[in-house]
């Protein structure tokens, strides 16, 4: 029996977290969720996942600040981080990739896109 891989979904929208969780379940991922960067950082300090699906604009701590803090944690370079955001300018995508994101998803997304981006990031 293969063990399920773990993905942390970080988004302030409950609906987005629910949709992503359902898609990831079909891809045999075990997901946990956080509604802002600070909550996500606390979860990562306790138990680092293999993958993080990360929104950009969130209250308390946004995705970009979370990514910077994550990469400074011991073991924080390990998880593959895929931004999943409504930001769709070339500048934003470039900024995300230059600052440690492995892939980038523009909302709205569907299961094909999530699967394709996880494949490109080497997660499946």
């Amino acid at each position: 029996m293969t063990s399920q891989r773990r993905c942390l979904i970080v988004d302030d929208s409950k609906m987005i977290r629910r949709v992503a969780m359902r898609i990831l379940k079909d891809m045999n991922f075990n997901s946990s969720e956080a509604e802002n960067g600070k909550e996500a950082l606390d979860l990562c300090k306790l138990d680092m996942p293999e993958a993080i699906l990360l929104d950009w604009r969130m209250p308390i701590m946004d995705g970009f600040a979370f990514l910077k803090a994550l990469r400074q944690l011991p073991d924080g370079k390990k998880p593959i981080v895929i931004f999943c955001t409504a930001e769709r300018s070339v500048e934003r995508i470039t900024e995300a990739l230059q600052n440690g994101a492995d892939e980038y998803i523009m909302k709205p997304f569907d299961s094909d896109i999530i699967e394709s981006k996880f494949q490109l990031a080497g997660l499946i």
Partner: protein, 317 residues
């Protein structure tokens, strides 16, 4: 499902027959919903009152243009970037480097046969751009061909929805080779110019004579072969063989092969569907006319069957 569909079963059978006879492709028995939705959209686009009016016009008038439009709509594939990556990797790992090592430079001509919305053709251009510093003096001309369709129109425009550019395309490639569409509110992306200039697209009936096309150093024909009927497979592979230059390459899908008939090709890596044309194959290939005359043009009849009319004779009459 049958209860919610409006198309009469005999018409559905006639459309299946038309697709087989015109394009050599078998539509599955479970494609009724696809036929209904796609042709309903085509009927609206072409100004018909309903799907029934379109079908009546198709089989009543025997309009060949409409028949080709219907068939190409039915065969439109949901293609995406980097489809079958195991097979596509052969293009960068073997085809381009080998052509370069044999030729040492100059221009190589490449064909995406059955190019749909053009992702494969532009994918070749991206692969070349990534490799070109290692291939000094080598340039590429890429041609994509398919039946006239809205997918081919999108290929020509090099314009894709934000869903399409996220299927199989890495974010780094998106920002390097595409630009956001300029219209306010649009979420489409457009192929950027240096890349677009490498690729052209042409309307081609894939089972007709391919004599109007030039010869190629490499042909990609991936993922479509299993859908063709036996005679159509023979015809299309013979046609492709005649297009590939000696020592040129044919790349099929990773699970596809030429099987018993080699069409003048030797396998390079059989498991990945890659073949190389032998130097002189003229003695191996019977004329294509023995399979289906090249001059024939399919014409739809009112019973949903196609006939083949000798174009030259029509001109002489």
């Amino acid at each position: 499902m049958a209860g919610v569909l409006s198309l009469n079963p005999p018409y559905y059978e006639a459309l299946k027959r038309l697709t087989l006879e015109l394009a050599g492709v078998n539509l599955g028995s479970d494609h009724a919903f696809l036929v209904e939705t796609r042709l309903s959209a085509l009927a609206r686009k072409e100004g018909f009152e309903s799907l029934d009016s379109l079908v009546n016009e198709l089989f009543g008038s025997g309009d060949t243009r409409l028949a080709v439009q219907v068939v190409s709509t039915l065969l439109e594939r949901d293609s995406h970037f980097n489809k079958d990556p195991e097979s596509f990797a052969q293009f960068s790992k073997t085809i381009l480097p080998e052509l370069y090592s044999v030729r040492g430079g100059g221009q190589v001509r490449l064909l995406s046969f059955g190019c749909a919305a053009g992702q494969e053709a532009y994918g070749m251009a991206m692969a070349y751009e990534r490799l070109k510093d290692q291939l000094p003096g080598l340039s590429v001309e890429i041609i994509g061909v398919d039946y006239p369709s809205s997918a081919l129109d999108r290929a020509k425009a090099g314009r894709y929805t934000h869903f399409e550019v996220q299927r199989g395309l890495a974010a780094r490639d998106l920002i390097e080779y595409f630009e956001p569409a300029p219209e306010p509110g649009s979420s489409d992306w457009i192929i950027s110019h240096p890349l677009k200039d490498l690729v052209t697209f042409r309307d081609v009936h894939l089972l007709s004579s391919l004599g109007s096309l030039p010869k190629f150093h490499g042909v990609l024909f991936r993922g479509a072969l299993p859908h063709y009927s036996g005679p159509a497979k023979l015809r299309v592979l013979r046609g492709l063989s005649s297009l590939v230059l000696p020592y040129g390459y044919l790349l099929l899908g990773s699970n596809e092969s030429l099987k018993q008939i080699n069409f003048g090709f030797d396998p390079v890596d059989k498991s990945k569907g890659l073949y190389r044309k032998r130097k002189d194959v003229s003695e191996d290939l019977a004329p294509l006319e023995e399979i289906l005359p090249l001059e024939e043009t399919p014409k739809v009849k009112s019973n949903g069957r196609t006939t083949f009319t000798k174009t030259k004779r029509q001109h002489n009459a």
